[in-house]
Symmetry: D2
Subunit: 434 residues, 4 copies
């Protein structure tokens, strides 16, 4: 490095500043490394410090030369007292701040009872995280938000509070923890849109084309695609499209609830969804019975798989899943009718089941469901590419608002968007063959 | 009529009833005729009477035998006093109620100044309306909501208050006026959906298919199709589709505002919409300049037509309108940039211009614009078939909530819906040729 | 009754009609009784018959004289064949149609396995329902939508499919079943608004005043008020208001989920909600930890009640519930963090728990939660007065769209609406004391 | 400057970098000054450069020491060619970038016709802007977005394209122009919320309290408060509150349209709004006539002022405006009924009228109107504090999305929010008196 890549004692104190620093008697130096400038990390770090009535000066600042290089800086933080300082440091960890020179190990504490954490437990982000144990930095496996970090057999895992066992060694405090927020995605990628707000005033067909391309690239690289889907897929008329995507091998797991399955079966058995004929949009007063009859048929067969095996269920989303051995998880909800036997009615167990299928996902498509999208969002590391499709801007905004840089929100009608996406996929498939 | 098709003095008075009728000293008999039962008119009439603390009895009731037949009944209304009675009668006229035996002419009064109506002016509905003049029932031409009825040369017209001239003979009060609400549409028609609430949980592709069929049928019968469109048509990526519909001859008039035209021109000149490239969804900070440059280009050319003639504008929605001689009206709005010279900046004059193109419309498609859709809705007779397409359920609901039975609301993304509609139209065209 | 209160053979056949009836060879007579005209039942009945390509004539028609009287009519329905006829009759039952002269008992069939219904099971509405058993009409207890009717010990109950036991005697087909839809509410009641569409363009403070009056009247009559609430109650700043309503004795049961309780506890312990300080609206990056710490505190204490007893939880919604012995049900959801031990994680069990508290409810207020409102809506008889308050018009519309005439929807911000409601309640309390 | 506040030649070239810079043959150095880091300017600058396939290195970087200090840096931008470079520079100006050492004057060009700009016209931002003329930096008066800069009498003004006159000297290109984006607001201010997304999940009463405080502080300093209001103010029941705010002197100008005035007058004359009684929420079929009658009354009187003078109008929002000499502008809209004579039906003239009242505004409150809020937003400099209140999150988000750091969005019901705001203002008034 050249002579200028850091500069100690940058600041010439002004008189006002002197006054300020008189009040702020505690200080500490922290190191920050990453895409500090173009990933909006530095502005957030500065805002956070100021918001605590604290102050700072830059001890050095090395700006990454090219798009790919990290920036590095050391900041001296001044706060009113040590307590305030450690609060600030704890909050700064989300951005990858590490207290300088203090290469201390994490502090572990054992859980005093099943499902109960030590008071000062460290609550995780969904970013890549390392803990320092025995002088070495250890990667925390399966990063997930709002979890505890537990050490088992020398490995570090995130564990939901309900699955913590008495005696588990739990990471506490803020020492020895390093968080690595994801990079800002590079130019020309669909995921670069993220910066812009989700709104209905975007060219939906262009989005469909770009996502089609993304899906094909992921599949070419054997990446895993998980679909989270709400029942509006069926009502809105996109059922056959989703079934075809599954049949074609673009879906590696399907996460949903009772309603999607029941509507799918109702449509297979009666051509209706909640009694509305999806081909003629006629509704009959008594048609609502179809909904309950569909549930009864699956219960009679024993499960969706048995309904397929007994030739009760001969088409649709779940038929294709079963025929192609695509796993699905149906989580119970307080508003379920029935439910069908495939539904995991205990929501904690349903979360566990969903977790398994999200491991190593390359892309998650969340379609027309606020409930399951938020649920799955809670289980995802920040680096997983996520596409949220919903007709409600409020829903899409809420889902995007999780601090990830790899999420795209599209405000559109799944009923026309999904068929458009499929037609782009088919066009690309043809082009590839040629 | 047979012996049973009416029954005077139907009611045997109960003691409670006696008490009620003691209070209600004024009464009048009215005749009602129409699809009283299956068009929800009777329930509304009864509700209205009860809501006025009044009461009623049926003097006779002839139920239409088949789906197509009218029902007829005579109702005796009891109210507290004559004033209350005439208030009720005035409100009942919306449903076609006519005071029995009182075959009186309308009462005309002359306007005392330009743009000012007599105090007791009759405010129109958007239903078919007749007035009794010189003992004859005269059809009111160009029915429109919230207007005055003016007699000129023995003909009756609706006139907006701002166009009323001093001395105009204006219909007042409630005598001699008959309103005919539209019939409930018949089975299997797309417009029968109306009864069901607009929501995003409907099969959009089925709607697209049914509307495609409707459009082709109307065109086969040389019916007039008017499109009301908002700028989201361009942002959402449906521009080329709308241009193609115009080129193919499916559009007889286009009603919109400055923004649609400016975005259309910007896309033709620069490939962007408000600076966003619609093919790559990239946005540039400076791209917003394209928007202003598009306006400047049209102003420089003199108008959209001149821009086409000077080969400045070579594609798009307005290019196709001009090439195919499809008339358009661009109404000014307080939020306009520019505007371009084609815009009618005076809103009262813009309303007049829109009115002309709505005469004899067979179908009005309102797409992705609350402002212009409400404006056009105000100018339309209730019998004109109307399809409202918007991504906001609140907007669609508001537009449907005008008492017409010939409106369909679709909550969808115009960016994917319009291309889907076009593909159905093309498929039907092919089938027709075969 | 007088000579004219019915009229057989009303119809003089036209030639077209003859042709129509040639095709429709099957016919049956049904009786209808109720507020046929002003409750919109008759129009729906006619529409339903026509929608089946069937036809009808009125054999007699007795119009209720006053607002309170029932109307009665007998309709002869003509359909293509017997199968079509019974389909129509089955659908007409929702409106209280009973096949004339055919006073047959219900057909019972036993369930072949736990959780499985006979194929031709009757699926319930949420209206008052009677079945004819041994020649007598028996009221079905706890009416609820989409359930089976099971006979146990000579009584009839609705039973959810998952709770049906092998051997249960289940009502099937459509014979011997009578449904009584609720009356249209009378004038001047808050529930009369129902007819008008929910929208944000309504005077919220007037609604608050009317609901305050309703609540006081119900409480004066010892009626039961159940509140269904979402976590936005806390975020939006209405927490203290809800807590005060509970303390004042206006709430008899609270139905919600994990999030409401966790946000409530977080606010009690830290003054924040998901890390946002609700008094200063400042947010801290690390504040999200408060959310998890709140969960941990409750888990450590053992339950909300124990947290109150151990003086960990000293204020808020659940503190007041526990202090005033107001029961609550917290239903699990797939998106729960934690959850706290009070949550019933099995959704079928949670539904059962909610059911208990809804028995005999006089008023249900659903506030700021789509998930729990739909869930509770599924468990409610149609006669229970329901008020739905949400900031999303789509949510309110969806909840109202269940065929009840006793639901009011208000599109407003719970954060300002609930305090306004409370201030009206306090004003009325004062007036009562004076 | 000290020895460390800049560092030339920071970068040690890697081999990959060499390859990159081979392609990028053109380069230029720019200076940036401002709150580069904590106002998100630098990340945007870097993103913009990368998005153009260009690259950069930092020649020096002086980080502002305290919250209040500016940062300064010099960046060398590398691009494919000179054309690309100037495109980048033009886009960077929005962030205050000035080409280093090139202290050139702006290039002026005269307009060739009325309402037509030179092809390379500079399109303004709404930020504070300076142009260099005759070697001196000149402040552009009345900054407004998407306008031209015209030099008249040695002063620089923004001029809307439609008001440009033939021969006007217009600023073109990108030389000699400096833009100063607003600072990030400081801690503890209500306007600091801006960073967080608008959503309904915020504590509305806290917002009301903070805005009340802000309003009182502005009034204490004789600041100007402008209200932009939609007709929902009346429907939603907040009319009397707004009238009281005007009477109390908190409103310096009211910008709206025909509908607000007509509903206000209708309520004064008849107690209804579009026929709905706002005290009892009853609606009458004929009540819609009140709407037209209100229009007729104002037309008859001649104007709102004359209606007040003639004692036709005796209460309400406009009554208070007239009594307190608060100016108002009513802009015409294509959906207007009437309109009343006070409405400026030409939208370009209406914009001019609104502009006048926005000069030197300290605070603009936009309430329950998308149309007028967007219109006014287009006319406002970025430094004016703006509060947007609407029940639709999509509307609020759209209005906030204009690159200002001094706007707050609140998703709430104006019908309950405005009364809450007024009650906080009254409480603060009392506290001040004590």
């Amino acid at each position: 490095m050249g002579k200028n890549d850091h500069y100690d004692d940058l600041v010439v104190k002004s008189s006002e500043e002197s006054r300020v620093f008189e009040r702020l008697r505690a200080h500490v130096d922290i190191n920050l490394e990453g895409h500090l400038i173009d990933s909006f990390i530095l502005p957030k770090v500065l805002g956070l410090i100021y918001d605590h009535d604290a102050n700072l000066k830059f001890l050095n600042f090395h700006v990454g030369e090219t798009e790919k290089d990290y920036s590095r800086c050391t900041i001296r933080i001044f706060a009113e007292n040590e307590e305030k300082l450690s609060e600030i440091i704890s909050e700064l960890q989300v951005f990858g701040a590490v207290v300088k020179g203090v290469e201390e190990d994490v502090v572990l504490e054992s859980a005093s009872a099943d499902g109960v954490l030590p008071d000062s437990f460290y609550s995780t982000t969904h970013h890549e995280t390392f803990i320092r144990l025995g002088g070495h930095w250890l990667l925390v496996e399966n990063p997930e938000m709002d979890k505890a970090i537990v050490i088992r057999d020398g490995r570090a895992f995130t564990v939901p509070i309900s699955k913590v066992k008495k005696g588990d060694m739990v990471v506490t405090g803020s020492k020895g923890i390093k968080v690595v927020p994801p990079e800002r995605p590079r130019r020309r990628e669909i995921f670069e849109f993220m910066a812009s707000t989700a709104s209905s005033e975007k060219p939906s067909t262009t989005y469909a084309r770009l996502i089609a391309k993304e899906i094909l690239e992921i599949k070419r690289g054997n990446g895993k695609i998980v679909i989270v889907a709400g029942p509006a897929i069926i009502h809105s008329g996109a059922r056959d499209t989703l079934a075809e995507l599954i049949r074609k091998g673009y879906v590696d797991a399907l996460l949903s609830g009772n309603a999607l399955a029941v509507h799918d079966v109702e449509y297979s058995l009666f051509g209706t969804s909640l009694g509305m004929n999806l081909k003629s949009v006629e509704t009959h007063e008594g048609g609502h019975r179809h909904h309950m009859a569909a549930i009864n048929e699956v219960r009679k067969a024993g499960s969706l798989r048995e309904a397929v095996e007994k030739s009760v269920l001969k088409s649709g989303v779940f038929y294709e899943c079963i025929k192609s051995d695509v796993p699905y998880v149906l989580a119970g909800s307080i508003r379920d009718d029935g439910p069908i036997p495939d539904v995991i009615t205990d929501v904690v167990e349903a979360q566990e089941a969903m977790r398994k299928h999200l491991r190593n996902a390359a892309l998650v498509l969340m379609m027309a469901t606020a409930l399951h999208s938020i649920a799955v969002g809670n289980l995802l590391p920040s680096k997983v590419r996520t596409i949220v499709i919903d007709i409600s801007q409020a829903t899409v905004t809420k889902l995007l608002d999780r601090g990830t840089m790899h999420a795209v929100g599209i405000v559109t009608d799944i009923g026309t968007f999904l068929p458009t996406l499929l037609s782009f996929i088919k066009r690309l498939e043809k082009e590839e063959k040629m």
